[in-house]
Amino acid sequence: MMRFMARAATTTDAFNAVAEPRRREILDALVGGERPVNDLVTLLGLTQPLVSKHLRVLREVGLVDVRDEGRQRIYRLNGHSLKPIHDWVKNYERSWEKRFDRLDGVLEELKGREERDGGSDE
Protein backbone atom coordinates (compact mmCIF):
# COMPACT_ATOMS: atom_id res chain seq x y z
CA MET A 1 0.00 0.00 0.00
CA MET A 2 1.03 3.52 -0.74
CA ARG A 3 0.84 4.42 2.92
CA PHE A 4 3.85 2.30 3.68
CA MET A 5 5.67 2.62 0.42
CA ALA A 6 7.94 5.37 1.68
CA ARG A 7 9.44 2.94 4.15
CA ALA A 8 10.37 -0.02 2.05
CA ALA A 9 10.65 -3.43 3.68
CA THR A 10 14.26 -3.80 2.62
CA THR A 11 17.00 -3.46 5.23
CA THR A 12 19.22 -1.65 2.81
CA ASP A 13 17.70 1.78 2.44
CA ALA A 14 18.52 5.08 4.08
CA PHE A 15 15.37 4.95 6.23
CA ASN A 16 16.48 1.79 8.01
CA ALA A 17 20.05 2.95 8.25
CA VAL A 18 19.09 6.08 10.17
CA ALA A 19 16.52 4.29 12.32
CA GLU A 20 19.39 3.26 14.62
CA PRO A 21 20.20 6.08 17.10
CA ARG A 22 23.95 5.34 17.13
CA ARG A 23 24.11 5.58 13.36
CA ARG A 24 22.41 8.96 13.54
CA GLU A 25 25.08 10.02 16.06
CA ILE A 26 27.73 9.03 13.55
CA LEU A 27 26.02 11.07 10.83
CA ASP A 28 25.73 14.04 13.20
CA ALA A 29 29.45 13.75 13.98
CA LEU A 30 30.26 13.76 10.25
CA VAL A 31 28.17 16.86 9.51
CA GLY A 32 31.13 18.96 10.67
CA GLY A 33 33.50 17.27 8.22
CA GLU A 34 35.26 13.98 7.58
CA ARG A 35 36.72 11.96 10.46
CA PRO A 36 38.90 8.90 10.92
CA VAL A 37 37.32 5.83 12.55
CA ASN A 38 39.34 6.33 15.77
CA ASP A 39 37.79 9.77 16.20
CA LEU A 40 34.31 8.30 15.96
CA VAL A 41 35.20 5.54 18.43
CA THR A 42 36.30 8.16 20.99
CA LEU A 43 33.36 10.43 20.29
CA LEU A 44 30.68 7.76 20.60
CA GLY A 45 32.32 5.81 23.42
CA LEU A 46 31.69 2.52 21.63
CA THR A 47 34.06 -0.29 20.77
CA GLN A 48 35.82 -0.12 17.42
CA PRO A 49 34.11 -3.28 16.04
CA LEU A 50 30.69 -1.84 16.86
CA VAL A 51 31.48 1.51 15.25
CA SER A 52 32.83 -0.31 12.19
CA LYS A 53 29.64 -2.36 12.00
CA HIS A 54 27.49 0.80 11.97
CA LEU A 55 29.79 2.42 9.41
CA ARG A 56 29.44 -0.60 7.16
CA VAL A 57 25.63 -0.26 7.19
CA LEU A 58 25.88 3.46 6.46
CA ARG A 59 28.33 2.78 3.63
CA GLU A 60 26.11 0.11 2.09
CA VAL A 61 23.23 2.56 1.69
CA GLY A 62 25.57 5.28 0.49
CA LEU A 63 25.13 7.60 3.48
CA VAL A 64 28.88 7.75 4.05
CA ASP A 65 31.89 7.44 1.80
CA VAL A 66 35.29 6.19 2.88
CA ARG A 67 38.84 6.82 1.74
CA ASP A 68 42.17 5.49 2.96
CA GLU A 69 44.85 7.87 4.12
CA GLY A 70 47.96 6.00 5.09
CA ARG A 71 46.84 3.49 7.68
CA GLN A 72 43.68 5.42 8.52
CA ARG A 73 40.20 5.03 7.11
CA ILE A 74 38.52 8.41 6.82
CA TYR A 75 34.73 8.65 6.62
CA ARG A 76 32.62 11.47 5.29
CA LEU A 77 28.92 12.18 4.97
CA ASN A 78 27.24 11.80 1.61
CA GLY A 79 24.31 14.18 2.03
CA HIS A 80 22.80 13.24 -1.31
CA SER A 81 21.70 9.87 0.05
CA LEU A 82 19.58 11.60 2.67
CA LYS A 83 17.39 13.03 -0.08
CA PRO A 84 14.72 10.27 0.05
CA ILE A 85 14.20 10.99 3.74
CA HIS A 86 14.16 14.71 3.11
CA ASP A 87 11.59 14.27 0.32
CA TRP A 88 9.48 12.05 2.51
CA VAL A 89 9.23 14.67 5.27
CA LYS A 90 8.88 17.51 2.72
CA ASN A 91 5.60 16.14 1.54
CA TYR A 92 4.15 16.26 5.05
CA GLU A 93 5.64 19.72 5.49
CA ARG A 94 3.89 20.95 2.36
CA SER A 95 0.50 19.78 3.58
CA TRP A 96 1.02 21.78 6.79
CA GLU A 97 2.18 24.78 4.81
CA LYS A 98 -1.09 24.76 2.86
CA ARG A 99 -3.01 24.86 6.13
CA PHE A 100 -0.84 27.62 7.52
CA ASP A 101 -1.25 29.72 4.37
CA ARG A 102 -4.96 29.70 5.07
CA LEU A 103 -4.36 30.45 8.74
CA ASP A 104 -2.40 33.54 7.60
CA GLY A 105 -5.55 34.72 5.84
CA VAL A 106 -7.69 34.20 8.95
CA LEU A 107 -5.14 36.11 11.06
CA GLU A 108 -5.04 39.06 8.65
CA GLU A 109 -8.77 39.36 9.02
CA LEU A 110 -8.64 39.13 12.83
CA LYS A 111 -5.93 41.79 12.95
CA GLY A 112 -7.99 44.08 10.73
CA ARG A 113 -11.03 43.57 12.92
CA GLU A 114 -9.07 44.38 16.07
CA GLU A 115 -7.70 47.57 14.57
CA ARG A 116 -11.17 48.71 13.55
CA ASP A 117 -12.42 48.01 17.07
CA GLY A 118 -9.63 50.18 18.47
CA GLY A 119 -7.50 47.26 19.56
CA SER A 120 -7.98 44.85 22.42
CA ASP A 121 -6.89 45.70 25.93
CA GLU A 122 -5.21 42.44 26.83
Binding site: V89, D104, L107
Partner: protein, 172 residues
Protein backbone atom coordinates in the same frame (compact mmCIF):
# COMPACT_ATOMS: atom_id res chain seq x y z
CA UNK B 1 15.16 45.74 12.73
CA UNK B 2 13.97 45.42 9.18
CA UNK B 3 10.20 45.30 8.87
CA UNK B 4 9.14 41.78 8.08
CA UNK B 5 5.91 41.41 6.21
CA UNK B 6 6.20 37.99 4.67
CA UNK B 7 5.08 34.96 6.63
CA UNK B 8 7.28 32.08 7.65
CA UNK B 9 7.51 28.66 6.12
CA UNK B 10 6.56 25.54 7.97
CA UNK B 11 9.59 23.54 9.04
CA UNK B 12 9.20 19.87 9.92
CA UNK B 13 11.94 17.90 11.64
CA UNK B 14 12.11 14.52 13.37
CA UNK B 15 13.95 15.13 16.68
CA UNK B 16 13.61 11.50 17.86
CA UNK B 17 12.24 8.20 16.50
CA UNK B 18 8.81 8.92 17.95
CA UNK B 19 8.50 12.69 17.51
CA UNK B 20 7.59 15.18 14.83
CA UNK B 21 8.34 18.88 15.32
CA UNK B 22 6.42 21.43 13.25
CA UNK B 23 7.38 25.10 13.49
CA UNK B 24 5.87 28.10 11.73
CA UNK B 25 5.94 31.85 12.30
CA UNK B 26 2.88 34.07 11.84
CA UNK B 27 2.63 37.80 11.36
CA UNK B 28 0.14 38.24 14.21
CA UNK B 29 0.17 38.45 18.02
CA UNK B 30 -0.28 35.18 19.87
CA UNK B 31 -3.76 35.86 21.25
CA UNK B 32 -5.02 35.95 17.65
CA UNK B 33 -3.15 32.81 16.62
CA UNK B 34 -4.60 31.12 19.70
CA UNK B 35 -8.12 32.20 18.68
CA UNK B 36 -7.65 30.93 15.13
CA UNK B 37 -6.41 27.68 16.61
CA UNK B 38 -9.24 27.13 19.09
CA UNK B 39 -12.47 28.74 17.78
CA UNK B 40 -14.55 26.35 15.65
CA UNK B 41 -15.64 28.84 12.97
CA UNK B 42 -12.02 29.95 12.52
CA UNK B 43 -10.57 26.41 12.56
CA UNK B 44 -13.04 25.47 9.82
CA UNK B 45 -11.43 28.04 7.55
CA UNK B 46 -7.88 26.70 7.58
CA UNK B 47 -7.64 23.17 8.95
CA UNK B 48 -8.25 21.26 5.70
CA UNK B 49 -5.65 23.27 3.80
CA UNK B 50 -6.16 22.50 0.14
CA UNK B 51 -7.06 18.89 0.71
CA UNK B 52 -10.79 19.36 1.10
CA UNK B 53 -13.61 21.20 2.85
CA UNK B 54 -14.19 21.20 6.59
CA UNK B 55 -17.69 19.91 7.29
CA UNK B 56 -17.75 19.87 11.10
CA UNK B 57 -15.71 21.32 13.98
CA UNK B 58 -16.61 20.69 17.62
CA UNK B 59 -14.39 22.04 20.39
CA UNK B 60 -14.97 21.78 24.13
CA UNK B 61 -11.98 23.84 25.22
CA UNK B 62 -11.32 22.70 28.78
CA UNK B 63 -9.08 20.10 30.36
CA UNK B 64 -10.79 16.75 29.80
CA UNK B 65 -12.95 18.28 27.06
CA UNK B 66 -12.90 16.78 23.58
CA UNK B 67 -12.67 18.06 20.03
CA UNK B 68 -13.51 16.56 16.66
CA UNK B 69 -12.79 17.87 13.16
CA UNK B 70 -14.24 16.35 10.00
CA UNK B 71 -13.50 17.19 6.40
CA UNK B 72 -14.54 15.90 3.02
CA UNK B 73 -11.39 15.41 1.01
CA UNK B 74 -11.27 16.55 -2.61
CA UNK B 75 -11.42 12.90 -3.61
CA UNK B 76 -14.81 12.56 -1.90
CA UNK B 77 -13.96 10.50 1.18
CA UNK B 78 -14.38 11.72 4.74
CA UNK B 79 -11.44 12.33 7.06
CA UNK B 80 -11.96 12.81 10.80
CA UNK B 81 -9.74 13.44 13.79
CA UNK B 82 -10.63 13.75 17.45
CA UNK B 83 -8.85 14.23 20.74
CA UNK B 84 -9.03 15.20 24.38
CA UNK B 85 -7.47 18.28 25.96
CA UNK B 86 -4.93 17.45 28.65
CA UNK B 87 -3.59 20.89 29.42
CA UNK B 88 -4.71 24.40 28.46
CA UNK B 89 -2.88 27.64 29.17
CA UNK B 90 -4.78 30.32 27.22
CA UNK B 91 -2.62 32.06 24.57
CA UNK B 92 0.40 29.97 25.64
CA UNK B 93 0.07 26.22 25.42
CA UNK B 94 -2.28 23.38 24.55
CA UNK B 95 -1.63 19.70 25.17
CA UNK B 96 -4.09 17.36 23.49
CA UNK B 97 -4.38 13.84 22.21
CA UNK B 98 -5.01 13.45 18.48
CA UNK B 99 -6.57 10.32 17.02
CA UNK B 100 -7.03 9.73 13.31
CA UNK B 101 -10.32 7.93 12.73
CA UNK B 102 -9.00 5.26 10.38
CA UNK B 103 -10.98 3.55 7.67
CA UNK B 104 -11.55 -0.08 8.64
CA UNK B 105 -9.39 -1.37 5.81
CA UNK B 106 -6.33 0.51 7.05
CA UNK B 107 -3.60 -1.98 8.05
CA UNK B 108 -3.22 -0.20 11.38
CA UNK B 109 -6.93 0.13 12.16
CA UNK B 110 -7.90 -1.29 15.53
CA UNK B 111 -4.34 -1.50 16.82
CA UNK B 112 -3.75 -0.05 20.31
CA UNK B 113 -1.32 2.50 18.83
CA UNK B 114 -3.94 3.71 16.39
CA UNK B 115 -6.64 3.97 19.05
CA UNK B 116 -4.41 5.97 21.37
CA UNK B 117 -3.17 8.24 18.62
CA UNK B 118 -0.53 10.86 19.32
CA UNK B 119 -0.01 13.56 21.93
CA UNK B 120 0.30 17.09 20.54
CA UNK B 121 2.10 19.76 22.53
CA UNK B 122 1.35 23.15 20.97
CA UNK B 123 3.04 26.35 22.13
CA UNK B 124 2.49 29.97 21.10
CA UNK B 125 5.51 32.25 21.50
CA UNK B 126 5.38 35.95 20.63
CA UNK B 127 8.24 38.28 19.73
CA UNK B 128 7.87 41.73 18.11
CA UNK B 129 4.20 41.12 17.41
CA UNK B 130 4.93 37.88 15.55
CA UNK B 131 4.07 34.44 16.82
CA UNK B 132 5.94 31.19 16.49
CA UNK B 133 3.63 28.21 16.62
CA UNK B 134 5.45 25.06 17.69
CA UNK B 135 3.84 21.63 17.62
CA UNK B 136 5.54 18.54 18.99
CA UNK B 137 3.73 15.37 17.94
CA UNK B 138 4.65 12.62 20.41
CA UNK B 139 3.85 9.13 19.08
CA UNK B 140 3.86 5.81 20.88
CA UNK B 141 5.96 4.05 18.27
CA UNK B 142 8.08 4.89 15.28
CA UNK B 143 5.56 3.03 13.10
CA UNK B 144 2.81 5.46 14.13
CA UNK B 145 5.13 8.42 13.63
CA UNK B 146 6.00 7.23 10.13
CA UNK B 147 2.35 6.59 9.28
CA UNK B 148 1.54 10.19 10.24
CA UNK B 149 4.32 11.51 8.00
CA UNK B 150 3.07 9.26 5.21
CA UNK B 151 -0.42 10.71 5.59
CA UNK B 152 0.92 13.77 3.76
CA UNK B 153 0.99 11.48 0.75
CA UNK B 154 -2.71 10.83 0.81
CA UNK B 155 -4.91 13.08 -1.22
CA UNK B 156 -3.01 14.70 -4.05
CA UNK B 157 -0.02 12.39 -4.07
CA UNK B 158 -2.07 9.24 -3.67
CA UNK B 159 -4.37 10.30 -6.48
CA UNK B 160 -1.46 11.13 -8.74
CA UNK B 161 0.06 7.70 -8.12
CA UNK B 162 -3.27 5.99 -8.78
CA UNK B 163 -3.60 7.82 -12.08
CA UNK B 164 -0.05 6.97 -13.00
CA UNK B 165 -0.83 3.33 -12.31
CA UNK B 166 -3.92 3.46 -14.52
CA UNK B 167 -1.95 5.00 -17.33
CA UNK B 168 0.78 2.39 -16.94
CA UNK B 169 -1.78 -0.43 -17.02
CA UNK B 170 -3.49 1.01 -20.11
CA UNK B 171 -0.16 0.90 -21.98
CA UNK B 172 0.12 -2.87 -21.65
Amino acid sequence: MVAVTSNGTAVVTLPTDTQILITREFDAPKHLVYRAYTEPDLIARWWSGERGEVTSVEVDLRVGGTWRYVMTANEGFEVAFHGEFREIVPNERIVTTEVYEMPEDDPMAGSPEAEEGALNIVTFTEADGRTTLTTVVECHTMEVRDAIINSGMEGGMQEAMDRLEQVAVSLH
